[in-house]
């Protein structure tokens, strides 16, 4: 069964590929919000309407394929256990909002997990398409083609003046949210990222930590995305985002170089201490795990550590989230129990690399 596959592997098949600037950019994503013109939006729609939308997708798209995105599987929220939903959220295959909705909502996920189309979320349709590393243009192109493919069957809510009509006024127009996930340890260590954020905000882009609460970025992983969806074309929005990300990459590289020349031994010490913690600890909180994993990944990027693949950060950041830990343990765990599980899981995973 396909759901089992989505559950078992911590990192989606597409994440394993490397690409442009993959030392800093983990992934690129395009999300398109779309609605049926004839149905009320999910927020006020009747059960009957929501059912109609769901059944429509079941009939028209279940098991269908589009180009590289094969065998779409309709995963319905009502069939999932709470832990299973949490796992899908941690893999970013569904949003927390979708997971909270008890029934009548679903996600149509492609075999390679590169595409997930959420149904009856805030909007009837939310297309999400991921690419590894820094490949925003490709992601936009593919997402747009996927959008055309859906439009062959769906009557979209569209208005000449306002564009694609969405439930929330913050999404109207293109309905597009483009985002890039970046690992910025050197900019975080030197506190430069906090100084750059206001300038980035002025360009209509948002910077936020992807894991963790509020402004804190767990594992030094940041998401940069567009805020404005109206009045600019998809290409222009992506171009703006592209140029800012390009600059962040340059700044991060410079900051890494500066750290290497000025405090190489301190950096090496920090990296190997973190490696030591990961390979030896018996209890580890998610915050500490994230910090050490970020250090480890930096160590790999800078060549201090060469026997571990780069994707270890992506993989273990997902794997050590509460949902995945409990999925593996096959039971609910208290925070204390999770910290023990997390430590042993990380040790085992790194041991595996040493043996190879």
């Amino acid at each position: 069964m396909s759901l089992q596959q989505f559950m078992n592997e911590a990192i989606s098949p597409w994440m394993k590929q490397e690409g442009p600037d993959s030392d800093i950019v983990l992934s690129s994503r395009i999300r398109l919000a779309r609605n049926f013109s004839q149905h009320p939006f999910p927020i006020i729609a009747s059960e009957e309407t929501l059912n109609k939308v769901l059944e429509f997708f079941q009939e028209e798209f279940q098991k269908k394929s589009f180009r590289d995105y094969k065998d779409f599987e309709l995963v319905q929220m009502k069939d999932l256990q709470p832990i299973e939903k949490r796992v899908l959220v941690e893999k970013h295959l569904i949003s927390p909002h979708l997971a909270e909705k008890a029934d009548k909502s679903a996600s149509l996920i492609s075999q390679n997990e590169q595409v997930s189309i959420m149904i009856n979320e805030e909007d009837h349709i939310r297309i999400q398409l991921y690419f590894p590393s820094f490949q925003l243009d490709q992601a936009l192109e593919q997402a747009s083609q996927l959008d055309d493919w859906l439009e062959e069957k769906v009557d979209y809510a569209f208005d000449e003046k306002r564009g694609y009509l969405t439930a929330c006024p913050t999404n109207v127009g293109t309905g597009m949210r483009a985002s890039v996930m970046m690992h910025l340890p050197a900019l975080s260590m030197t506190n430069q990222i906090n100084r750059m954020t206001p300038a980035i905000n002025q360009l209509g882009l948002v910077v936020r930590g992807i894991y963790g609460e509020g402004s804190e970025a767990l594992g030094n992983i940041y998401q940069i995305s567009n805020q404005i969806t109206l009045g600019k074309s998809e290409e222009d929005i992506v171009e703006d985002l592209h140029s800012v990300v390009k600059q962040l990459i340059e700044q991060e590289r410079k900051a890494r170089e500066a750290l290497m020349t000025r405090s190489s031994i301190q950096l090496e010490d920090r990296i190997f201490r973190s490696y030591g913690v990961l390979t030896n600890s018996r209890i580890i909180e998610s915050k500490e795990a994230a910090k050490c994993l970020s250090d480890l990944r930096l160590g790999i990027d800078l060549g201090f550590i060469d026997h571990i693949p780069r994707t270890i950060l992506n993989e273990l950041m997902v794997l050590t989230q509460p949902g995945f830990l409990q999925q593996y343990a096959n039971s609910t765990l208290s925070p204390d129990e999770r910290d023990v599980r997390r430590a042993s899981l990380i040790r085992e995973r790194l041991q595996l690399e040493n043996e190879e």
Partner: protein
Amino acid sequence: MECQKCHQRPATVHLTQVINGQKSEVHVCEKCAKENGYMNYGEENFTLNDLLSGLFHSEGPSPLKGQSAHSYNQKPKLKCPNCGLSYEEFARIGKFGCADCYKTFDERLNPILRRVHSGNTRHDGKIPKREGGNLHLKKEMEEYKTNLRQLIEQEEFEEAAKVRDKIRSLESQLHHREDGDE
């Protein structure tokens, strides 16, 4: 790490307080966090929606009931004929009920959209293939017209004539289609 207050349960809530420039860290369990007012349960967190709905209200009718009853320019209650959502409800939840709401509340939307989208109120992006209808042709024509003006300014009349012919052919296509629709 154990909770600083009860010293019994593990600390799962970590806070950094800055008071008068003095930074202090607090590590407590959920129970103690609630009891000491570090967490607001029952109250929803202040979300983007709250912010938005605040914006909408400022555009709506005056909240002073006594006055608005006598007001000359009080607008009639707006309600979407398709889904039944009223403007007040829209302002409260910060979400539209259906595609028709955009038409129903059209007059009041520009100020809201301007604030949310840096001054923009009009879509300038993708047009869907089917739902877009003639928009593709219209957009193409706009582009040719801009091009034509440029060519005339640059006195490249030969090129301009070609572009003019293209516009004419598009115009006839458009008329043809619109006739067909009726």
